[in-house]
């Protein structure tokens, strides 16, 4: 036989890959820029100076050591949430329920934290984190199982489970697990034992370290293991997955469980690291910002870290901005919504930048795949 077609060149291959990575970053970055510009226009319309507002915003988020540690604090649960949503996306699932899973993780970690006393940190912390993560996993598993066996769409079921989680945790914090110390009238659990609080490791909060490790672990799982290959295959083409001998049902449940585990862990880290107890309302909106982050990071686990830091900066700097320029801190929510809008409707940005639709793996916002 003639040995035709050996046009193989490794250099070409890696060039295609690098170009693909650069290409993948263009739309998210442009989305943030456009959202900030539109945000600036809104600020200007409201009569304030956008430059003053934005410089205060970034000063409040990055300007000092204290500002930066506030940013890290805000970014930590966002990383966990962003990872949770990204992982589910990889399997073609839209986990809107990160919020509920996070609440379940937060409340159960608080329970372990305050109900056990006198345990050494080395035992107490891992136990509380694990229980929190598992509760998140269980919460997501409900939606995963319903999807796998009845075809019930995860968007619907996770939204409903969010409501259940809101009310359940409210009730726990105002009922059986309420902080009964004299003088307390608000709904909240008792403070967790000091041994259960997350320490700083050489000046860096343990929470952010865990978040970064989680991102690396998720990246490894998705790209370096056969389980990740199975998840992605189901997400990209469920009928090819079936052909390849992969159980679509099993992977659907597994992806939701892993996603819920991460969200629950995020809630537990927030409780043990920042708040010190469970208090309803302290982390509302986290689950939704997690969706923005996952899309901004194009579901890449490593990119979740900078995306979360960006949003963390804005949240940390919001009050400084309000103080310096008089712009209501709610403008941050508007900007976040605009970012979400532009990354989700990426056709708009592509048209502006005259980019072609891209070749890489697709993010399916919602697959019709049922049982």
């Amino acid at each position: 036989m003639e040995r035709a077609g050996s046009q193989f060149s490794p250099r070409m291959d890696s060039r295609i890959q690098i170009w693909g990575m650069v290409h993948a970053a263009i739309v998210p970055i442009a989305s943030v820029v456009v959202a900030l510009v539109v945000g600036a226009a809104i600020i200007a319309l409201s009569g304030a100076n956008p430059l003053v507002a934005y410089s205060a915003l970034f000063e409040g988020g990055l300007g000092s050591g204290r500002a930066f540690s506030r940013t890290l604090e805000k970014a930590t649960p966002l990383i966990f949430g962003g990872l949770a949503v990204s992982l589910a996306f990889k399997c073609g699932l839209f986990n809107i329920g990160a919020q509920g899973q996070l609440l379940m993780g937060a409340v159960s970690a608080a329970f372990i934290g305050f109900s056990l006393q006198g345990l050494p940190s080395a035992l107490h912390i891992p136990l509380a984190l694990l229980v929190g993560a598992l509760l998140g996993a269980v919460w997501a598993a409900i939606a995963g199982t319903l999807k796998a066996f009845t075809g019930a769409h995860e968007v619907i079921t996770t939204i409903m489970l969010n409501f259940v989680a809101f009310n359940l945790t409210d009730w726990l914090a105002d009922g059986p697990w309420k902080d009964r110390t004299p003088g307390n009238i608000v709904a909240r659990t008792p403070a967790v034992a000091p041994e259960a609080r997350l320490p700083d490791i050489v000046g860096v909060p343990l929470g952010i370290i865990l978040a970064v490790l989680a991102a690396i672990a998720v990246w490894w799982l998705i790209w370096r293991t056969t389980i990740g290959f199975e998840l992605r295959t189901v997400g990209q083409n469920a009928s090819a997955a079936k052909y390849a001998g992969i159980s679509v049902r099993r992977m659907t449940v597994l992806a939701m469980v892993a996603s819920g585990f991460l969200a629950g862990l995020g809630g537990a880290v927030e409780t043990l690291g920042v708040v010190g107890r469970f208090q309803p309302g302290f982390n509302v909106g986290l689950g939704f910002n997690a969706i923005t982050i996952a899309l901004l990071a194009r579901t890449n686990p490593i990119a979740v870290i900078p995306a979360s830091l960006l949003i963390g900066v804005m949240q940390a700097g919001a009050s400084r901005m309000q103080f310096n320029s008089g712009v209501a801190s709610e403008i941050i929510d508007v900007i976040l919504a605009l970012i979400l809008f532009f990354v989700a409707a990426d056709g708009i940005i592509r048209r502006v930048l005259r980019l072609r639709a891209e070749e890489g793996e697709r993010v399916t916002l919602s697959s019709g795949r049922g049982s």
Partner: protein
């Protein structure tokens, strides 16, 4: 067929590069009014790319396109439609949940004020169908149509947009011989009315039958032009590949051993609950190739899906190597050593967004050396890919290129390479050479025969009677969900098979070869 001398479409010195490949290099082409121009070339030669440029889906890096003598810049399908160019793609682009009429008017809606005027559209569609003998119901849902009918919808869609230059990219790859004949009638009536057609196919017989002129591409360049009068299948094959191609399969006597695949009265239902496979019994032995002949849609697809675990077996038993695998999971069946070339490459056989390397381990990714425990071994996966790419002559810039960037035939080669390289005792191949060029067909056929000679049992399902006759040791004819006859390939004739496939009772077939002869009568509606 009187091709005029008026040039309706001309391409001059078109060059188009993709990362790592030059898909078209200085290609020039002229299309005359009322003619059929056939475009031939190996997989990856650049045929589809050239057509996509003419249709405005890609833009050339250099060179120009002229329509009726005017240089034009076609920057999208809406431009090409305005210039009267219509295209039927290698992979159809219809919306399955829309009706025929909705699909046809999509993007060219007839309006009545702000509302869609579906009735006017329906009338026009009926008119076009009548004029060109294109039989389709405007109100049928596209998902319920056969591929042949879907293709007609694509053609009507082009005609509805008043196209008089029609590009057909491998239109016959998925058609039955009957449907191909009907398509040729349509093409002839189109050219008789002054339309011009560019026709792409890997089936040289068809090209010789329908073309006025034939242009051959190799590795992105035009290597020659000829006419059906001057050319033969052999000379065309040689022009395409650049060497002489053996058109017949060389194979020795089969030495059948023990049964590897046994079907015992297997019944399978389709998605709507109809019995599409009706108590089929057959055996495929080690060292033999059993071909299933039949017009598409007689249950072959569902039978293969049931054997491989992709569709439930309603009743009956499936045994592989004597072990019952009825309704076992696809994974378990695959692990008995059953390789499977699926019929629908885009849907089942490939993950288009994955690299060639990942697709080459799509169903073996978890076995050593591709994984240690749950950890992927990327080096082993890459080495495996480089080996198969070379061995099977897959034209790709490299193993990490996404399969979506490969030409149609090269996508198929990825599947073939994966399945034929697995060590197994059973090979189930559905339409293995669909969309593949003659040179590669020769190679794939040799490989299938080699598998047989090494003791594998091969179940071959193909719509190509030529392929069935060339490769099989025994031929089973399937009609309305039944195996109506099983014949030794050596004594089977085209005519006899054709009759059986059309539902003739196998009365004049030697009695002992008839399987289920009595039941056939019932199966006929």
């Amino acid at each position: 067929m009187s091709a005029g001398s008026e040039i309706v479409l001309e391409a001059r010195n078109i060059t188009k590069r993709f990362p790592g490949v030059v898909a078209n290099e200085n290609v020039s082409l002229k299309l005359y009014r009322g003619e059929v121009l056939a475009l031939l070339g190996e997989n990856g030669a650049g045929k589809t790319t050239l057509m996509n440029i003419l249709y405005g889906l890609y833009h050339q890096d250099s060179g120009e396109v002229l329509i009726r003598g005017e240089p034009v810049r076609i920057s999208g399908p809406s431009d090409s439609i305005r210039h009267g160019i219509g295209m039927v793609h290698q992979h159809f682009m219809l919306v399955p949940v829309f009706t025929v009429a909705e699909n046809i008017i999509l993007g060219a809606e007839t309006r009545n004020g702000p509302f869609l005027d579906l009735n006017a559209a329906r009338r026009q569609i009926r008119e076009l169908s009548r004029q060109y003998n294109l039989d389709v119901d405007p109100d049928a849902y596209v998902k319920d149509l056969s591929v042949g009918q879907q293709q007609r919808v694509e053609i009507i869609k082009a005609l509805y947009r008043k196209a008089d230059i029609l590009i057909l990219d491998e239109p016959t790859a998925v058609l039955t011989p009957q449907e191909t004949e009907e398509l040729f009638t349509i093409i002839r009536s189109l050219t008789a009315r002054g339309a011009s057609v560019i026709f792409i196919s890997h089936k040289l017989k068809e090209v010789l039958a329908i073309a006025d002129r034939i242009m051959v591409l190799r590795r992105g360049r035009v290597v020659g032009e000829t006419t059906p009068r001057e050319a033969t299948e052999r000379s065309l094959a040689e022009m395409m590949v650049g060497r002489s191609v053996m058109m017949e399969v060389e194979k020795g006597e089969a030495h059948p051993g023990t049964p590897v695949l046994t079907l015992d009265r297997v019944t399978v239902l389709d998605d709507r609950g109809q019995r599409v496979v009706n108590e089929v019994s057959l055996e495929v032995h080690a060292g033999e190739i059993l071909g299933i002949a039949g017009v598409q849609g007689n249950g072959q697809t569902e039978l293969v899906e049931a054997i491989t675990g992709l569709r439930p077996v309603h009743s009956g038993r499936v045994l592989i190597n004597g072990r019952d695998v009825t309704n076992a999971s696809p994974r378990r069946i695959s692990e008995t050593g059953c390789a499977h070339v699926p019929e629908d490459r885009q849907e089942d056989g490939l993950v288009l967004t994955y690299s060639v390397a990942d697709n080459l381990v799509l169903n073996t990714y978890y076995t050593p050396p591709f994984a240690r425990g749950i950890v992927r071994n990327d080096r082993a996966i890459l080495n495996h890919a480089s080996r198969l790419i070379e061995r099977y002559d897959v034209r790709t810039p490299g193993p990490l290129t996404p399969v979506s960037a490969l030409s149609g035939g090269n996508k198929q080669k990825v599947i073939i390479a994966r399945e034929l390289s697995r060590e197994g005792r059973l090979l189930i191949a559905a339409q293995p050479t669909r969309g593949i060029d003659v040179g590669s067909i020769e190679f794939i056929h040799q490989r299938i025969v080699a598998e047989r000679d090494q003791g594998a049992a091969v179940l071959l399902v193909s719509a190509e009677l030529d392929e069935i006759m060339a490769l099989s040791d025994r031929i089973a004819v399937m009609y309305h969900g039944k195996i109506v006859a099983t014949l030794p390939a050596a004594s089977a004739t085209r005519e006899e098979l054709g009759l059986l496939m059309a539902g003739a009772q196998p009365t004049n077939v030697p009695h002992e070869t008839i399987a289920d002869g009595r039941a056939t009568v019932k199966a006929q509606r």
